[in-house]
Structures are given as structure tokens and as C-alpha cells.
Amino acid sequence: MKQFRIELTCGTISENKHPMNFPEELKYTEEHEWIRLESDNIAVVGITEFAQGELGDIVFIEIETEGESLEANDIFGTIEAVKTVSDLFLPVSGKILEVNSQITDEPELVNSDPYGNGWLIKMEINDPADLDKLMNAQTYKESTGH
């Protein structure tokens, strides 16, 4: 009845200590992942600064899909904060090439550097045109109420 679960929602936004960052060069999903194209069809995926703020301290990340080919919106892993468990959804279809090994021992990197050292996976995209279906920085920013 009174499950202590904090859902990842765009609920009450508190006054923030610093302005939230929504890098222009990234594409965003409704599930609060970002994706950055590194070359023709190789991209890096993480969760947004907004998402890590909503989740709170990240304490555990489990991604066991390295080497697998998945469809867009498939679950590729799980991210756990102190009080919550959230699934991670693949932004576009493709193959997971690499999992950031650093975040296994230092999941807090996702909090401190969500767009940098806190990246989650590197993937090969089936069709780079799929990125056009995702949100740009401005649209995503508005969707979070900022």
C-alpha cells in the first residue's frame, strides 16, 4: 500500500542549485536516455542529468547485454538508486558493443558526470536515420519542465 518507491517522473521540480545541462549535440528519449553519435554508426548512450537528479544516488548498474542486438525501446539493463530500480531502454535499434566497466565499481559517476565518464554503453546503430526520431535538446528540456 505505502510502497516507498519514487518513480522517475517529472513531478515537482525543486529549485536547482545549478542550471541543468542539456547538451545540444545529443539526442534524447522519453525514457531520459541520451545518445551521441561518435562516427557513422557508432554511438554512446547514457542517462540524462535530469534523470540522475530524479533518481538520486546511483548505487548499482547491471548491464548484461553486451554483444546482443536489440530493438529500439528494448530493455538493455537496470539502474538502481538508493530507493529505486529503473529499466534502461535502448534509444535506437542496434548491437551493444561495450559496457562502461568503470560504472560497475563507481556507479556514482552517473551522478557526477552523466554525459562524460558516466556513460553506459557503446553501440552500433542499425540505421543512423533512426536518430531523427528522437528529441533534440530543446524539446527534451521542455519535456522535463525546464
Binding site: M1, Q3, F4, E15, F60, A81, K83
Partner: protein, 364 residues
């Protein structure tokens, strides 16, 4: 049902509190980081605004009889200024709520109940109030601040002449605090870190809050949200109503036998006595993860072959121990400390062990 606001809601928002609806109230869940807030309470001092909690003031001849009837613990042993942990058994073998009983004077008591149960508790107690004991619901008039941690007393002592070191654990005193008269200073808390809980009339709440933060500045005092409140209580193995104890859970299975006194009759005492004599079938235990992973409420507890032997009711990553801890019900055969058990996390069996609680040493 609409969500209520605690009196200092805007103050919490101003200082960065992220508000979420909890137990019918908009409550600060976190100000900066759950782990930072948790550690501030373990290592120095933090303040929780838990004004959502309910307070009933009971007064008049017959009040002790009423409490003895509805409460499983024996309130006759209380003296003025003494506090007792107890619970309200229901008629069907479960728990209406757990609560604190404060004896103010011979015929004067205060009951402190969980926010989500204020109405249910009120109606339940009234049902047994056949002798016309005066009951006043103070819940909307009082703020409750829990000032917890090893530096809590040093912080609070600056604001009162009452020698706080002399106020023993589970006792309270009433007096001037930060210039406000009649503040209840209660040596209790839900963290195991020591400190006080302060019952403050709403009109003085903001002033008192600010004065506490001025006094605690040298200790880097922090506001603490419900997130850290939950991890702190879990490290101590304290039950949370709604998770670990409910209308359906047996208080004996939940380990509340120590506050169940069959020396006097109370609601459902005969059936509970029978349950005790026959022996309980399952037991609420603490468990610590051996494999990497975080146990969460409703996850299955299994034997090594994957057969379910219980269920987790509360779990988290312990910020202090840096590993997964939980409490949950297991069949009695698996309840001994040291027993190897497994937790099913996303269809995988992760190894864990039954351990004695508290998980960490109390600071009180």
C-alpha cells in the same frame, strides 16, 4: 484523497527539498543526496521534518484503561516523562499501527502514530473508548522535527537551559526551547543515531527550525529527507508500517513479542496468546547480501533450489555497509542467523545470509 501539506512546505522547497507525496502528505524526500544525508546523521547531525506524523492527546480518568485495552504493551509501567514503543493489534490477528505512548501525567497521555494511519487509528481507538476519555487530535497543530546524530545534543543544548544529557533514551521533558514555551523534547528517533524529537506548535515551527540550523552550523547540520530516513531505519532493523507490519501481518511473526504483554487483556490478546503457544510459522528476519545486488520489497526469498521460502518487505543498499540489506519474512526453519538463503533479483538467485539486527551498531 487530496495530498496535504506540512506547515514548512515552502521552506523545504526553498532549501532544495524535492517534494513527493508520501502517506498523504507532500514530504521532502531528499535535499542533496540520500547517501550524504544518511552519513550526516550517522557522523554529525541532521534534521528531519516529520510533521506528517499524528499526535493524539488523551486526557481524563479511564485513559490508562483505554490505552491498556488498545495497546499491546503494558502502559501501567510508565511514569511521568516516560515513553513506550507499542502497537495497536486489530481484531483479526494483524496490526492497526505501531506507535509511541507518552505519559505526560497520571491521566494525561500522548500517542504518536503514523501519518498514513491517523484516521484509522483514531476510529479504532474511539471504538474502544467506552468510558468517554477525552481525545484531541493534535496532528494538524504540531510540527515534529527529529534532530538526530552524535552532534544532536550539542546542537540543541545551545537553545535550552534544560540539561539534555540527563534526558534518558525513551523519556521526554517539556520546556522552553529557542524561546518557545512548552516544547516537548523527546529522546527518541528512528535512526539509531541518538538525538531528540521536538514537538513544536505550528506558529513557532519556522523560528525553531531556523534556530536549530544556526546552532548546528559548526557541525555542518543538514536537512534530511525521507529517503535517508528509510535507509537509516533499515540499518537499525526498525519496522516500517505499511511495509514490514500491516493490517495482515502477525505482530508475533514481526518480532513485536517484546512489546506484547499478556499480563493484561487487550484487543485480540486471547488469539495472540494462542498463536504464541502454538508457535509462529514464519518470522521477520534481517538479511545481508553476499552476492552483489540490492534486495527490494516484494522480492522472493528462496532456498538454494529456488523454492520460495519468504518475501522481502524492505530492502536497500546500506550507505554505511555499502552492501544490500533487507528485512523480510521467512519460514521459521530458515530464520536462524547464519542460514544461507537466496534472493530472487530479476529472475536470478543471489546469495544472502540471515543476520541478527541491527545491521549496524546503534549510537544510542
Amino acid at each position: 484523497m487530496s495530498v496535504k501539506n506540512i506547515p514548512l512546505k515552502s521552506l523545504h522547497e526553498k532549501i532544495g527539498g524535492k517534494m513527493i507525496p508520501f502517506a498523504g502528505f507532500n514530504m521532502p524526500v531528499r535535499y542533496s543526496s540520500d547517501i550524504e544525508e544518511h552519513m550526516a546523521v550517522r557522523e554529525s547531525v541532521g534534521v528531519f521534518d516529520v510533521s506528517h506524523m499524528g499526535e493524539f492527546y488523551l486526557n481524563g480518568p479511564g485513559v490508562l484503561d483505554l490505552i491498556q485495552k488498545v495497546s499491546a504493551n503494558d502502559a501501567s509501567v510508565l511514569y511521568n516523562g516516560k515513553i513506550q514503543y507499542s502497537y495497536l493489534p486489530n481484531e483479526t490477528g494483524g496490526v492497526v499501527d505501531d506507535l509511541l505512548v507518552y505519559r505526560i501525567d497520571e491521566d494525561e497521555y500522548m500517542l504518536v502514530v503514523n501519518a498514513s494511519n491517523i484516521e484509522k487509528d483514531w476510529n479504532h481507538i474511539q471504538k474502544y473508548n467506552t468510558e468517554g476519555v477525552e481525545m484531541i487530535n493534535m496532528s494538524d497543530e504540531l510540527c515534529l522535527f527529529a534532530v538526530q546524530g552524535p552532534k544532536a545534543v550539542d546542537t540543541l543544548q545551545k537553545l535550552t537551559n534544560i540539561p539534555l544529557k540527563n534526558v534518558e533514551y525513551y523519556t521526554f521533558t517539556k520546556g522552553d526551547f529557542a524561546g518557545v514555551p512548552n516544547v516537548f523534547l523527546s529522546a527518541t528517533g528512528y535512526t539509531g543515531a541518538g538525538g531528540f524529537e521536538l514537538y513544536v506548535p505550528n506558529q513557532h515551527a519556522e523560528e525553531v527550525w531556523n534556530r536549530i540550523f544556526e546552532a548546528g552550523e559548526e557541525f555542518d547540520i543538514k536537512p534530511i529527507g525521507l529517503g535517508a530516513r528509510d535507509t537509516l531505519r533499515l540499518e537499525m532493523g526498525y519496522c516500517l508500517y505499511g511495509n514490514d507490519i500491516t493490517d495482515e501481518t502477525s505482530p508475533l511473526e514481526a518480532g513485536l513479542g517484546w512489546v506484547t504483554k499478556f499480563t493484561k487483556p487487550f484487543v485480540n490478546s486471547e488469539k495472540l496468546q494462542k498463536e504464541k503457544n502454538e508457535g509462529i510459522k514464519r518470522k521477520l528476519v534481517g538479511l545481508e547480501m553476499i552476492d552483489r545486488g540490492i534486495p527490494r520489497s516484494h522480492y522472493e526469498i528462496c532456498d538454494e533450489d529456488g523454492n520460495q521460502i519468504g518475501e522481502i518487505t524492505s530492502g536497500t543498499m546500506s550507505p554505511l555497509m555499502k552492501k544490500g540489506i533487507a528485512i523480510g519474512y521467512v519460514e521459521k526453519a530458515y530464520s536462524k542467523p547464519g542460514t544461507a538463503i537466496y534472493v530472487k533479483v530479476r529472475e536470478k538467485l543471489l546469495k544472502a545470509e540471515v543476520v541478527k539486527m541491527p545491521f549496524v551498531k546503534a549510537g544510542v
